[in-house]
Amino acid sequence: MERSVFEQLRQLADLGLDVKPCYWNGNAFVAVELPSQEAAASTPLPSAEQATSAVPQHAPAEYLFQPVSKREAAKQLAHSLFSLVPAGVRPHADRILRHSKTLAVKYVLWRGRQAAHGYRMPSLPLPLESGRPLGQCPFQPGDIFVSMGLDWDAAWYQQLHDIKRKYGIKIVTCCYDLIPVLFPQYCVGDVAEKFTSYFVDLAHGSDLILCISKQTQKDLRQLLDDTGAPDTDTAVFPLGDNVPVATEPPSDELRRITERPFILFVSTIERRKNHQLLYKAYHLLCAQGHADVIPNLVFVGMGGWGVGDLLMDINLDPLTKGKIFQFTHITDSALRYLYEQCEYFVYPSLYEGWGLPVGEALSLGKAVLASDQGSLPEVGGDLVTYLDAWNPRPWAEAILELSLHPEKVAAMAAGVRECYRPRTWKDAAVVVGAQLAKLAQNTTTPLTLLPGYDLSTEVGLHVGPHLYSKGEPGWLMFGPHRLLAAGTHQIRVLIKPVGTAVFELDVVGDQGASCFFAQQYECSGAEGEQLLNFEVQLERVAVDFEVRCKLIKGNLEIQRVEIAQQATSRAAGYAGV
């Protein structure tokens, strides 16, 4: 999805944004240099694993065997070993393996909880250590950083808030769904607290969170409201329909399976997707003697977590024998063939953040029976027939009805072909692009620094948000060591002298090598709080920007520093991968 949106965004010339990819190398964000727009489509964007691994000695195309991730390698090894187990013993071996996996997961989680229950003084989030001097980071003030990826395991998402403050950029992130928070029972391990924490961090670090459906948007807003998180802006954008492309003819096995009518369900086999409901519906229909009337049922998808017993039931149930088939690891061509050949498509999921396969089926003109849970009604609207996700009987009745009245299936499909407009990734990019353009045009809010929290001192005392001097001359205030955009900036410093205070204020960059403003002041405490105003002009982006106060005589309290930009800077969009 992130690749598709990125490529479409780059092609939207009227956005007025320069869109570039970047990735996290374990220490910092690094810009990806693409040779040209034409080559970009064929240039693979670095994956997280590639980015964090050592620089390879040879390009991947030179290897005899294409390397895969360690996780994938382990899975393929397990797959191969299991294939060597005699067929008669396989059901028992499978049970043992699934039970062992459950125990292993529980052990890992238990270890994690043991560590979590001990409390200690938590450290503040470490300042973003880029490992690179500020001047070489790819972000400039006013840039927009966009992450469309699945980033909850990324090391940097907790730093978004700091990144924004340090570089003066805007951040756009993406929320697919809140299933780990709302339905942790369908996930591996106790994920609710981790994902609650993740979404809270996104809310604090983002200027905009893109949601893939209105349901996801609603769920996210509810979570943010419940947890007291900020009311971050959200916007919904449509996912493109990933219609598979056929490049080769179907295999003989596929042709055999599709000789008889069948209905299709494309999804990973996991509890939330609710394959069990369809199995129960088929069991009911077969028990009622309708096995010969109803179509076969084809599942396309890998077996996931917690479905071992279901797959065993399907394998062993004499009533449904020969009616339910499962395909895993099929090609796009094969998938397309199955879509085209099926009588209609079914999707009984217990909850979705979107429902891509429903869109795929509708794009290929197929009638669809689906549950009405989560975002599913947003995908096909009135073109889909909705059934109760918790009751197999309405599904059994509907499947039997459509079996006995194929003209109804035809009418439903005709309605889909006439009215369904497939969603494209260009549609997605247009919506995202419009949001980015709006964000780019938004006036930058003044930067407010609270010296007690945000700035440093050599001779003063941090007292809450303020800095107090202690009667000692020297550097009372300096920092924040961040980037500041080129242009004119109005700077206001709120002070409260104690008695008569003599001090110098200056504005510098490049570790003090560049000075943009310097002035000495003598202020009397009799006047109470005073606001000192001045302007600085920056010809270029200031690196390591600081507002400093050197106390010469007397005592002073510094309460606030505000920096308001008077002129806009260029906006570049960075798409994080």
Partner: protein, 395 residues
């Protein structure tokens, strides 16, 4: 004028609200020119020995009075030291000289005071210092641990002790008008309002630096509380359900003896988003606490149970910081509800939202000019004046 102050805890070190109030009373009487002795029975093993105090007798001593004395120790102490001759004598022998006024904080040692007055032929005025509607408070605390029948029995025993004190006291001082109204329904008495308060402070640079070491200069909200069960329950109730109110660099500093129980509570152990925000400072020197009060960005008072008034509320008001509190926490301080810096919320969602607003700096308090009304001098002035009005008779 000699004043005997009776309590089930010493005045110093003043770690919890009852001790702070006792110390404030002692100091106020002394400033009014009285000779004050603080005496009583230590209400638990955790109190250090103190002059004038009998040691805690241990739970075994209560067996003949009540089957399960858990959370009823204070009531049991009162009965023991008024009815058991040996215990009575042990405490009576610690009392110096002739008391002109016997001020009993909470109802537990009131029966002892009555017996003492009768047996010594004293004509001392008896003052009942009510801190709460005790039977209601005990009912809600015991309800967290016991089945309803036991709770009801215990609450009845407490209520009997309260009614007795109200009936026999020459004067009853209550911490809030609401408590006066409720007490009047129980028993007619001469009532006077003596709210809970706080001592003023001016944190030194060393105190601020000590506080900064705990907070690491991060903006933080402060929750300071003793291990009184309602404090812990309130935190659990109002911070439950995931936590997103603080920015990544902000924190909540937990101070006081409630810290350990809060850190072990289900609300904290089940929420990563909350856990990583907490700085468990625990019990601190008073100076460091004052440093925290001075440098806090906001103060939270998540109290959902209990009567009386909360000393920490008085402290928060005097600190002149944005406060996020429940209505229960603000009981007795209703005059400050209109302060721009006081945000009221009684449910978890509202409380967290209020905390976010308080930390943003958008809601600064505007009650600085009237905050002196929460100082102990002001709170106890009427009581002291009333008690010492005839002081010259005893000099």
């Amino acid at each position: 004028m000699n004043v005997l102050l009776l309590a089930t805890y010493p005045a110093e070190p003043a770690l919890h609200g009852g001790q702070l109030r006792l110390k404030a009373l002692r100091d106020a009487y002394e400033r009014a020119g009285c000779q004050v002795q603080v005496a009583g029975v230590l209400g638990g093993d955790h109190y250090r020995s103190a002059a004038g105090f009998c040691p805690y007798p241990g739970n075994d001593a209560f067996r003949s009075l009540i089957g399960n004395s858990f959370l009823m120790e204070d009531w049991a102490l009162g009965r023991l030291f008024s009815e058991n001759d040996q215990c009575y004598d042990a405490l009576a022998s610690r009392i110096r000289g002739e008391a002109h006024v016997i001020h009993v904080e909470q109802p537990w040692l009131f029966a002892f005071a009555e017996r003492y007055r009768k047996q010594t032929g004293s004509k001392a005025a008896l003052i009942y210092g009510s801190q709460n509607i005790e039977h209601r408070l005990k009912r809600s605390i015991l309800g967290n641990y016991f089945e309803p029948n036991h709770v009801a029995r215990c609450a009845d025993l407490i209520e009997e002790a309260e009614r007795h004190a109200l009936a026999r006291a020459d004067l009853c001082c209550c911490v809030s008008q609401e408590d006066i109204d409720q007490s009047r329904l129980m028993q007619a008495c001469d009532f006077i309002l003596a709210p809970n308060g706080v001592e003023s402070w001016d944190a030194s640079s060393a105190d601020v630096e000590a506080a900064n070491r705990l907070s690491a200069h991060a903006p933080f909200a402060l929750f300071c509380a003793s291990a009184h069960p309602p404090n812990i329950k309130g935190f659990e109730d109002l911070f439950a359900g995931g936590f997103g109110a603080l920015a990544p660099h902000e924190r909540i500093v937990l101070a006081g003896s409630a810290t350990e129980s809060i850190m072990k509570s289900a609300t904290v152990t089940s929420s990563l988003s909350l856990r990583r925000k907490l700085v468990p400072a625990g019990i601190l020197p008073r100076g460091t606490l004052e440093g925290l009060l001075t440098t806090a960005r906001a103060i939270v008072l998540p109290i959902t149970q209990g009567g009386g008034t909360n000393l920490k509320t008085a402290e928060a008001i005097w600190a002149d910081k944005p406060i996020v509190a429940t209505r229960v926490a603000m009981r007795g301080f209703e005059a400050f509800l209109d302060s721009t810096g006081v945000l009221i919320a009684d449910d978890a969602r509202g409380f967290k939202k209020g905390l976010r607003h308080a930390m943003s700096g958008e809601r600064l308090p505007n009650h600085r000019e009237r905050r002196d009304s929460v100082l102990w001098d002001h709170c106890l002035a009427e009581l002291i004046a009333r008690v010492t009005v005839r002081k010259d008779r005893f000099e």
